[in-house]
Amino acid sequence: MIVKLPALESELFDTWEKHIEANPELTNSPVEAKESFEQSRDDFFSMIMLISTF
């Protein structure tokens, strides 16, 4: 992602915070876990936006 934007306000927009709330044992995951989680969420968003608004 080129630019970091604040999380989208949506029930279906996942965040690392929501994820570790549901999986507390992952709270102290390596930084790569958080970053890759957010990247894959962003990639999923991009794909959804491509097929829904392009």
């Binding site: 934007l5 989208l8 279906l12 991009s46 936006m49 608004t53």
Partner: protein, 392 residues
Amino acid sequence: MSDVQKLFKERVDRITTTIKIEEPDRVPITSMFETWAGHYSGYSVADVAFNYDKLVDSFCKIAEDFEVDTLPPPLGVRCGRIYTALGSNDFSFFNKEGVSHASVQHVECENIMSVEEYPELIKDPYKFIIEKQLPRRFKALDQAPDKKAEALGKAAFLYQDYFANAVGRLGGILEEKYGVPCLFKGSTEMPMDALMDFFRGFKGVSLDIRRNKDQVLEACEALRPLMLRRAVQNAPTGPFPFIFIPLHIATYLKPKDFETFYFPSFKKLIESLIDLDMTPALFMEGNWEPYYDYINELPKKKVVGLIEHGDFKKAKDTIGKTITLFGGMPIEVINNSTKEEAVTYAKKLIDDLAPGGGYIFGCDKSLLAPNDINPENLKAVFKTVKEYGVYK
């Protein structure tokens, strides 16, 4: 630095200077080559939408034969594989007999969202898209949860593959072999255009602005963060900060309606993109003269506008200090005049639009179907602009 790298840098500098509304060495040239690029190489729309080698070859041939300074990414061709995997209801590349269309066909999204669903869309548009809009537009997403999940998984794999092996690969070859930079970093739509194109349809929105005024405005506001995120999250390609934004409904609204419904989210999205150091490249189809005053309210020298109709001298005089102008060369003239007449027209365009910089030469429309442009005349016109468009 190799010759190709020099050529690449020259082109990047040329365009970067142009959009500051300063004079570069000469007027840059390009056009919105889309499925026509395939036709030029003897490929059909289906060929270039499904076969990535044919897609890449087609655009490389454009770079080679037309010696343009930049090219848009091939997204206008669309990734046929995703649409077939998901069972699209509104996009098609070929008919039931398997015969390719002359250009990508899109059927108006008439009943994707009913007028009663405005509150739901406004409350959580991303959720509405995933739960309702997508299943209504793609049959494979209108299935039981596990099957829908698989379909989304397939789409994700196809999406990754497309951006790596079609779009990304082409961008790399164009840069390294032809010294041609990619014109756009990303793309998006204005909230009201997205509302029309993918939720309520043209007829729906035209009626909604009479019967559901507040909801239209709220829906535009709700969609805006999604359209911003879409713009800046796409695969980062190219040295230019252009975000391509086709504008659809604007010129079908009288100025009063444009001001009330279209302009608020239009201006805010443009300002947000500029704050993120992006340059909105607006595809101003139709005649934008009635709305020039609104264009002049935008931050100066931060926006590019592809123009189609109107008095271009007037455009240069009225909005030419606010936005960089792009396009304006009528395909009608290139196709239906002699080479000499087309060249004369191009020179007049340069006279009217080039002074002071802030002008990129190109065709007034996207190039889609086989006969959309006469290639020999286009080459002659490009050649003329390279010589005549030199700034002294």
